[in-house]
């Protein structure tokens, strides 16, 4: 180990060059790293969407979802398949194991999709994979502002679909642009059934006739002399007149044109969503989705640039107005940590200067910060970690720790320099000083890196959130280790040399602050060394305080990252119509708009183009855009505004309100799983029977002690008009079932009959009865069906028409329908609850054949996490213990240093309690970090005490003198770490809420452990001395 120092000092130039290489490499890595706001916690998932116009959930499930699901079974790395069959839309989520390459996953899914396509009946939709993106992919939303007010919603949507979308999709890093709102332009053939009757034409015939009259064909070529002429026949309809003039029949030589039986007009496609603004109007909006793995900031700026270009080409008065973009969030998040980082560096530098008393050693130490950080960047690029709140936060946390190794080393050099005679070769002094402390430095840094191991075992969202942090801390610490081993001695030899001449080895040269502190410390340490029991009592008191306070802490899961954008999620009755949904939403928008700080509210209802959202029309998401903060009333905060909004709309009848944020929302949509502690999933076939058995299970659960917040999934609630064709009746008229159903489909639902091309823009021709002939049960009964004998029979004579309540959507998992019963457990052990509940249910509920339950929920995840931690943490502690042991070669020393851990934990608890914070995942991360950080002080001190002891100084005196001499490095390392974290503690910017608990715990823990290192440790040292051997250690 000592050879490293010798090598470094011998090859100072080489080492300096290496340092420059790391600096340069780090800088370039930094430039290359993608920048995100938060770590992406989206699961590895491929979504398959199938739009099936007009089909009810049951049919979607049967004809579309099921074939897709079954074809996906047995894929490599497959974790789970979940599906939702909604009205007109099937979504199959195929979850892969974490870390599966997204392109690999898409490729295997795509292969199987070919099979699935063959299974799906013709005309029931074509399954498509979702965009290559994640929950963080929705980077920019915009709407079209029409200041002229003369463009229709259809025209604006056409501009969106055929101008804006196409151009934005060319921006590198944009994988998809999805439009919503307004009406997609269609050519509507609005059929008058009475006219059809008059000319004896069935509505289905019209569909075929239109198709046959709207074609271009190619007929190869003819040769004329030496030339070739391509032959093509042009007959595509391009305008309304072309359609109107289609001859549908010829009666005695008199042609009957399409416009005699139908009105042909420009209309809007059937829609399952729309977008409103400020409660006054409908708008057209678009969502830009970025490609997986691209740099959000770059993509967004490119998109914004492109938008400016597009704006110039749009018709006068129409403008693209972005209302949400992730860039500001990314900037805010990165700013928060960058500020913390810079403030941390400043504070650390101040501490260094104050304690070192001079600039030069401070510079040597301070250089370790950029070195370690840039080293970490190289590592981040290697591991593919993006710059984000957590990874950058890791660096901010590590700021104070990065310098510790160098501090100890430089401080020792400084001290030895002062003690040594002026004639001694300075390089030798540096080498000696470095060698003295190298071992504890290496071990303490390795220990810090080691304690972060448990974080790498975190799973799911927490894992994805905190792993980048663990990575960067570990990387930065590794960087600081390299710096301390190689560069710090070299730089010391360069920079500290000159100073030596002036300092004449005079101990009085200790600087003022240290002297002052020593004055206070001296009597204290003497007292405790003399009265060891007092030290023990002090330690015990602190531990008892911790045990006493611990249960008083509240607990929460990971605090929610504040994105700075608020979304009000509104859920309405499942049976609601889109118009009613729009009306309700606009009223709510008006209410929200009454708050003066609200600039705009833009609400998406249901879904637009498929790819990102799959919400039904009873769900609306309102984006609240606030005015610039300078215009807010005084004393208004985001939290206050949130509660104001809540107050405004909470009482609105018939809706449920939730608050969420853009990224949170889209990630939540992708994540599977239940939010309650306990979820019983009942799998089975029949929806009715599922429902009734779920109710039985819920009934039993309710009687088990501790069950609270019990809930059953609501699977029904969407009204249906069910038309059951009477087979006997149709037999009498010589009809086939399909004849009747085809009429029902075309007449009521409508049917696409080819397309009209306007240049490259293409618009569907949509054939459907005029609204008054299909929009209520009474007129649907009157729908006429032509029979083979040429007569017409009303639908009600051949079919039963009834109103029933059907499923709102059908959810499936692992190829089975299921229903979830969820609850929380209060006041008792959840394991016991589950056991009791399972017994009760087995005894009381008789499930039909093929039905089964699975028990899961958050508790399961936690149990698994706890189980993992229960193994990993002791192992980690054991490793740390062995590291310590191999550093000191003394069991007693090791144990003595280990005392720091409980004392540090207590400090963390006290700090949380004082600052009114809860135990949370980031706080736990802080405690884990403490395991490592807290040991550092003790190691520094004990190493030196051992040294003094070996020099033959009596143990009491050694304890006192050693503690006094080590006051400076111990305080410095502790203070730099604490002050390095301080900015995170007081930061209020985006993302600070996640790091505050962590910083609190570490600072608190470090505080108690430092005090104890300085007081209790020297006092107890007598009981844990190293065996004094003669010779080298």
């Amino acid at each position: 180990m000592n050879r490293i120092i010798d090598f470094a000092l011998k090859n100072r130039l080489l080492i300096s060059v290496l340092a420059i290489v790391v600096f340069a490499g780090g800088y370039f890595s930094y430039k290359n790293l993608p920048i995100d706001a938060f770590p992406d916690v989206s699961p590895s998932l491929v979504q398959v969407f199938t739009v099936t116009e007009g089909l009810a959930p049951e049919e979607v499930e049967k004809y579309v979802t099921f074939p897709i699901e079954t074809s996906m079974n047995g894929l490599p790395n497959l974790e789970n398949i979940r599906s939702v069959s909604n009205f007109g839309l099937s979504v199959v989520n195929i979850y892969f194991e974490d870390g599966t390459d997204i392109y690999f996953a898409r490729q295997v899914v795509n292969e199987r999709l070919q099979e699935a396509r063959e299974q799906i009946p013709e005309g029931f939709g074509d399954p498509q994979m979702g965009p290559i993106s994640t929950g963080m992919g929705l980077v920019l939303f915009y709407y079209l502002d029409d200041t002229t007010g003369k463009y229709s919603l259809t025209e604006l949507r056409t501009i969106q679909d055929w101008i804006i979308k196409y151009q934005l999709q060319t921006v590198p890093g944009v994988t998809e642009v999805l439009g919503i709102g307004g009406w997609e332009k269609q050519f509507h053939v609005v059929v008058n059934p009475n006219a059809l009757l008059r000319y004896d034409i069935a509505v289905n015939d019209l569909v075929d006739i239109i198709k046959k009259n709207n074609l271009n064909v190619g007929a190869s070529f003819i040769e004329k002399d030496a030339e070739e002429f391509l032959v093509r026949s042009v007959g595509l309809a391009t305008k309304i007149e072309d359609l109107e003039n289609i001859v549908i029949k010829s009666e005695d030589g008199t042609p009957i044109y399409l416009d005699q039986v139908a009105n042909i007009e420009i209309g809007g496609a059937v829609r399952r969503g729309l977008q409103t603004r400020n409660g006054i109007e409908e708008v057209i909006s678009g969502q830009v989705i970025k490609l997986f793995g691209t740099n959000s900031s770059t993509v967004i700026s490119d998109v914004e640039k492109k938008m400016e270009e597009i704006n110039k080409t749009l018709p006068e008065g129409i403008e693209i107005v972005p209302y949400y973009e992730q860039k500001s969030l990314v900037e805010a998040a990165v700013n928060t940590v960058t500020n913390a980082l810079l403030q941390g560096i400043t504070l650390v530098a101040i501490v260094l200067i104050l304690f070192m008393g001079s600039i030069r050693p401070s510079i040597v130490v301070a250089v370790s910060i950029p070195f370690s950080v840039l080293f970490a960047f190289i590592g981040m690029e290697y591991f593919g970690i993006s710059i984000n709140l957590m990874s950058f936060g890791g660096l901010a946390i590590a700021i104070g720790m990065m310098v510790d190794g160098s501090i100890v080393l430089v401080e020792n050099v400084d001290r030895l320099k002062r003690e040594s005679s002026p004639d001694e070769n300075f390089i030798h002094i540096v080498a000696k000083a470095s060698k003295e402390v190298l071992r504890p430095i290496i071990f303490s840094i390795i220990i810090i890196i080691t304690v972060f191991i448990p974080l790498f075992t975190l799973q799911g969202v927490e894992g994805k959130t905190f792993r980048p942090l663990a990575y960067t801390i570990a990387l930065a610490m590794l960087g600081s280790l390299i710096f301390a081993m190689l560069l710090a001695p070299v730089y010391s030899s360069f920079l500290l040399k000159k100073k030596r001449k002036k300092t004449n080895g005079d101990k009085q040269k200790e600087n003022l602050i240290i002297r002052l502190l020593l004055k206070i410390y001296n009597p204290v340490i003497k007292f405790f060394v003399k009265n060891r029991i007092a030290a023990v009592v002090l330690g015990v008191i602190i531990i008892i305080a911790g045990i006493f306070l611990y249960p008083r802490l509240g607990s929460e899961f990971t605090p929610q990252l504040q994105e700075g954008t608020l979304i009000v999620k509104i859920t309405m009755a499942p049976s609601i119509s889109l118009n009613e949904s729009k009306k309700t939403t606009m009223l709510i928008e008006k209410r929200i708009k009454e708050i003066p700080e609200v600039d705009e509210t833009i609400t998406r209802i249901g879904r637009g183009e498929v790819g990102a959202h799959t919400d039904p029309i009873n769900s609306a998401e309102s984006f609240i855009v606030f005015k610039d903060e300078s215009m807010w009333r005084s004393g208004i905060t985001l939290e206050k505004l949130e509660s104001d909004i809540r107050e405004k709309i909470e009482g609105f009848p018939g809706i449920l309100v939730n608050f969420t944020q853009p990224i949170q929302m889209s990630v939540d949509e992708l994540l599977e799983g239940v939010k309650a502690e306990l979820a019983v999933k009942l799998f089975g076939e029949d929806l009715k029977s599922l429902k009734s058995n779920a109710e039985k299970i819920a009934g039993v659960l309710r009687t088990v002690r501790g069950a609270e917040d019990l809930q059953i999934d609501q699977v029904t609630g969407k009204p249906q008009l069910k038309i059951t064709v009477d087979r006997h009746a149709i037999a009498r008229y010589g009809l086939n079932l399909a004849d009747v159903q085809q009429v029902i489909k075309t007449a009521i639902g409508g049917e696409t009959s080819g397309q009209i091309f306007e240049g490259i823009r293409r618009f569907d021709i949509f054939v459907r009865l005029a609204p008054e002939y299909r929009n209520n049960k009474a007129v649907i009964k009157e729908l006429l069906i032509s029979t083979p004998t040429g007569m017409e029979v009303p639908l009600s004579q051949v079919a039963d028409i009834e109103e029933i309540e059907g499923p709102r959507q059908i959810t499936r998992e692992q190829n089975q329908r299921f229903i979830t019963i969820q609850c929380n457990v209060v006041g008792r052990d959840i394991g016991g609850f589950v056991e009791e509940a399972q017994q009760e249910i087995d005894a009381k509920v008789n499930l039909p054949v093929g039905y089964y339950t699975t028990w899961g929920g958050q508790y399961k995840l936690q149990q698994e996490a706890n189980k993992r931690f229960a193994i990993v943490i002791p192992i980690t502690l054991l490793i740390v213990f062995f590291l310590l042991y191999s550093s000191f070669n003394s069991m007693k020393n090791t144990l003595l240093i280990f005392i720091n851990i409980p004392l540090a934990l207590v400090g963390g608890i006290i700090a949380l309690w004082l600052t009114d914070q809860n135990l949370s995942v980031p706080a736990s991360v802080g405690f884990i970090a403490l395991f490592g950080i807290a040991l550092q002080n003790g190691m520094v001190l004990v190493t030196y005490l051992n040294q003094l002891l070996r020099e033959g100084i009596p143990i009491d005196e050694a304890s006192i003198e050693g503690a006094k001499l080590r006051l400076r490095p111990v305080l410095m390392t502790a203070l730099t770490t604490m002050l390095g974290l301080m900015p995170l503690l007081i930061a209020t910017g985006t993302g600070s809420e996640v790091q505050r608990p962590l910083a609190t715990v570490v600072i608190g823990g470090l505080f108690t452990s430092t005090i104890l290192t300085l007081i209790v440790l020297p006092a107890l040292y007598k009981w844990f001395p190293v065996k004094v051997r003669t010779g080298e250690m």
Binding site: E669, Q714, L895, I899, W1023
Partner: protein, 332 residues
């Protein structure tokens, strides 16, 4: 080391070990112990509690302030008597009145000498339409119109030889026409003689009223429809035979004591309900429905005349009552 020290060393070692283990287990065990149902579910529960209060008090009540009623566009009305008109829509076509239709057949076969009228010309009774030379007598005779009317059909040109077995001219008096309506079997028992019908072509704004004066005694064996006829005045010439028309037949006209708007009736928990005012609040009242037309429905049981009910916008109240149930499955 003395034994005593070893002892202390042991105790402290154990203490540290125990504390560490405890700490490790409790921190990481409990940090996520108390995760509650997520936000959404949480809110649902709040809402649920509100309502469960309502449920436990014997009725489900929804209170609305006047401003809310205004804002939501809810219309309130009183249950009262209404004259309900019930209609049946029938399709059909305009045909000439057979009593005023003359099919003129030449008396003798012969050669057409001259034709004075064209299709669409008005003719008076006894006005000459054509002159024909008889094949038998080789004398010419005049073909005259037997009634006042319009020439609907004319099958001859000068020089053409025509027989005496087919009509050559059709003259119709279209001052009144018939609307022949097709009555499907299912409607037969409702369509009666004397019922008034609004006959219209394309839009009901231009409908003309008439009465059903005839219903065919048999049902056509091909179309399985009976025919109902309405006589229409056509002095303006608006109705043209062959026109496809719709007849809105007033099949019933009753005065009911308790009527509510059709939109007031909501499906709620498997029942038909009307939301009625109860104190300051509204509650769902199950009802049975009698006769209905396109706007109103007769309430047979459940309501009393004079009760205040929600005529328009009842859906909001229903949603409010069902609110606790629809946040449940939000997992996509």
């Amino acid at each position: 080391m003395e034994k005593k020290n070893k002892y202390i060393f042991l105790v402290i070692g154990i203490a540290v070990g125990v504390v560490l283990t405890l700490a490790a287990v409790t921190f990481f065990g409990s940090s996520s112990d108390d995760v509650h149902l997520g936000e959404e579910v949480g809110h649902t529960d709040e809402a649920g509690e509100e309502h469960s209060d309502g449920e436990h008090s014997e009725e489900e009540l929804v209170a609305l302030s006047d401003t809310e009623i205004n804002e939501l566009g809810i219309r309130i009305d009183k249950v009262g008597s209404k004259k309900l008109q019930m209609h049946t829509d029938l399709t059909g076509e305009i045909v000439p009145d057979p009593d005023k239709l003359a099919h003129i057949v030449p008396r003798f076969a012969g050669v057409v000498k001259s034709v004075y009228k064209e299709i669409g010309d008005r003719v008076k009774k006894d006005e000459v339409i054509a002159v024909i030379e008889s094949n038998e007598s080789l004398v010419t005779y005049e073909v005259k119109s037997s009634i006042d009317g319009v020439v609907l059909d004319l099958h001859m040109t000068p020089g053409e030889l025509i027989g005496d077995d087919k009509h050559i001219v059709t003259v119709a008096n279209l001052s009144s026409v018939w609307a022949e309506l097709n009555v499907y079997q299912k409607d037969l028992n409702r369509i009666k003689l004397g019922q008034s019908a609004q006959i219209y072509f394309n839009d009901i704004e231009n409908a003309v009223n008439g009465k059903i004066f005839y219903i065919s005694p048999t049902v056509d064996e091909h179309t399985r429809t009976a025919t109902a006829r309405v006589r229409l005045n056509n002095s303006s010439g608006y109705w043209k035979p062959g026109m496809f028309i719709t007849g809105k037949v007033l099949t019933d006209f009753v005065e009911v004591d308790q009527a509510v708007t059709l939109n007031a009736i909501q499906n709620f928990e498997g029942q038909k309900v009307v939301f009625v005012k109860d104190g300051e609040s509204f509650r769902p009242q199950p009802v049975t429905i009698g006769k209905t037309n396109t706007n109103y429905a007769e309430v047979l049981t459940g309501l009393n005349a004079g009760q205040t009910y929600i005529a328009e916008g009842a859906f909001v109240i229903k949603s409010e009552l069902l609110k606790e149930s629809f946040g449940g499955d939000d997992d996509h």
